[in-house]
Symmetry: none
Subunit: 205 residues, 4 copies
């Protein structure tokens, strides 16, 4: 790495962490629209300038602050496609129950409908991170023989995308739009619907 240890910047790393930490705390307390840069700076014990030196605006900062939450999502092998899907649904639901995620996720999506740079950031920070889980789960199910291998890579990608939108969409919609709990019963019900749908899909052309 060319990183040639410039004169006196031990602060930088600490500041980054403090800012993102403060951003999440502010999100929990205030929600997206009441969160202000000045308040985050004050919580982080940092000047407003320091925030703007790192992110171009509020949106980008909040996306980064929230993105790390999605790193927690994992796909432990529970032995069957059904169990794997149910597990990831409940994990995702638990994440959406945390107020910093709940508030920020929709707000950032809303903003991204108008802001191309933000949309790109959302894609790489949130979407790709989650889609990876679908890919893994599918490969595992194929290895178990629960799902057929797909020869056409384009077709495979389309199916992955579809599954991703169905799973993530249903959970988000239930949690945030319908505002009903994503509990174990709902997860079981949804998983049965999805997996049986996937199972009988291959028969039709």
């Amino acid at each position: 790495m060319p990183q040639h240890t410039r004169t006196g910047r031990p602060r930088s790393v600490a500041a980054d962490a403090a800012i993102l930490q403060a951003t999440r705390a502010a999100l929990v307390e205030l929600g997206w629209s009441k969160l202000t840069m000045g308040d985050v700076a004050a919580r982080a014990g940092v000047a407003k300038t320091t925030l703007y030196r790192r992110w171009a605006n509020k949106n980008e900062m909040v996306v980064d602050a929230v993105a790390v939450l999605f790193d927690e999502l994992e796909l432990p092998d529970r032995g069957s496609l059904l169990a794997d899907v149910e597990g990831v649904v409940l994990q995702f639901a638990a994440l959406l129950n945390r107020p910093e995620a709940k508030t920020a996720l929709m707000a950032v999506v809303a903003e991204s409908t108008r802001d191309d740079a933000l949309r790109e950031r959302v894609r790489s920070a949130l979407v790709d991170r989650q889609k990876r889980l679908v890919v893994t789960g599918r490969e595992r199910a194929q290895a178990r023989g629960e799902l057929p291998y797909e020869d056409d890579p384009c077709e495979a990608s389309r199916t992955t995308d579809l599954i991703f939108d169905v799973v993530a969409g249903a959970v988000v919609h239930r949690a945030l739009v319908s505002a009903e709990p994503v509990d174990e019963e709902w997860a079981r019900r949804f998983t049965r619907l999805l997996v049986s749908g996937l199972g009988s899909l291959q028969d039709s052309p």
Copy 2:
């Protein structure tokens, strides 16, 4: 009786219409976060106070302005469950393609995670309006023999809710989060997945 023979000058119905109209126009041009009350008032040829006399804040106003868009959603009988679902998916996708809906829907949901009054308004103005379609479609499929009748009303309601979250969630997620087009091919693919899932669901206990 709810009426109370109001005294004083009655509110102008023309103003109501002009404001909601102006709100939608502003949404298209500016998006949610750039939309201002003053601008909407100016477009509507109305004083800002006239807005605040009717709605407590921007959010409530925008929900009402957007709600009427959902009145367009219909469920014409296309002869089969598959065709009905595909039809409603495409209709909903077309709605989400309209910039005033796209921008406003997510923003309003984001706000509603923090604001109980707003959540209630979203439920009655958006959620219930859409869920009605699911109920209709299901009854029609049952009449056709494509789906079994459900005796337990509580169970029926849960299934309705599940279908609603899966359909609406998947379409919204595809359109706004993944930011990919909801075209005929995707609709067909998704519909097949859902309908076959529903079909094979009744076999499992």
Copy 3:
């Protein structure tokens, strides 16, 4: 005279009284600049329209409400010019001590520097009412032989005006600008200065 007994419902005299009464009460509590038409209307148990049917604007209404206070000013004969002046000074001071007068008088004068209609109203409602006292006092002093008769009516008027401005000006300035009490001692001191000035005036050419 054109008094053709107008048709239609006559204006409520009770409302007139209630409004002026309410205006004075509001002046005491709120002061001129915080007094609002809506508040006065509410206090009087009357609609705002009823106010505007009688006065063109806030200023005119307040002048009328305050004017009656000046009707209380009298000039009882105390036997000497000195005693008469001292009496009227203390009377005027007592009037300016009442919060509705104190607040309103200066405010209305301030407004009248920009508003010709208001200036005219101030002149007839306040200035002329007070100047009358000076005229009376002077005639009485002339009858007593304390002051010489003035042949030139123009000259007489100028002297009246001068005395009026000196007396009213000094009292108002002491009470409102210097914000010091106009007590008996000050009144005696001021009266001696004025009367001895008037006495020795006739000697100089």
Copy 4:
């Protein structure tokens, strides 16, 4: 020392000057009651917040803007008490003829009857500044032998106050309440009255 070595960007002195200048200009054109903070800010090429950072409200700002006008008042030695008084009367009258002073003076006095902080500001910015002239003039007359020395300092102060209220009060009342011109003739007439009053005052007990 009261200083506390302030950190951060210092306030712009250019802005201070521009604001007070703009305030006086706005007073001339619009008068007190039509003057708005937004307009003053725009004239000064400054943001509204910059005004509110310096003054708590319109009143305080206008007092400061007007106060400097009173710095112009001087008391050149014209050789006699009579001439000195007449000079200061005409100077003061000229000041009151300027529209920014005329309008603001009474308005600010009116407000100060309700606002203690404002009253204090008026006293230090306007009253004390003018009273200084009376003190100077009196000392000069005593040196000339036109007025007796006063041993009791308390008595001296009372006489100073009295003269101040009579002079300032009469001029203000003539100019603003009676709304008549304070011309040379009036000044001569008033001065004769005052000076002869002062002269014959010492004879009475």
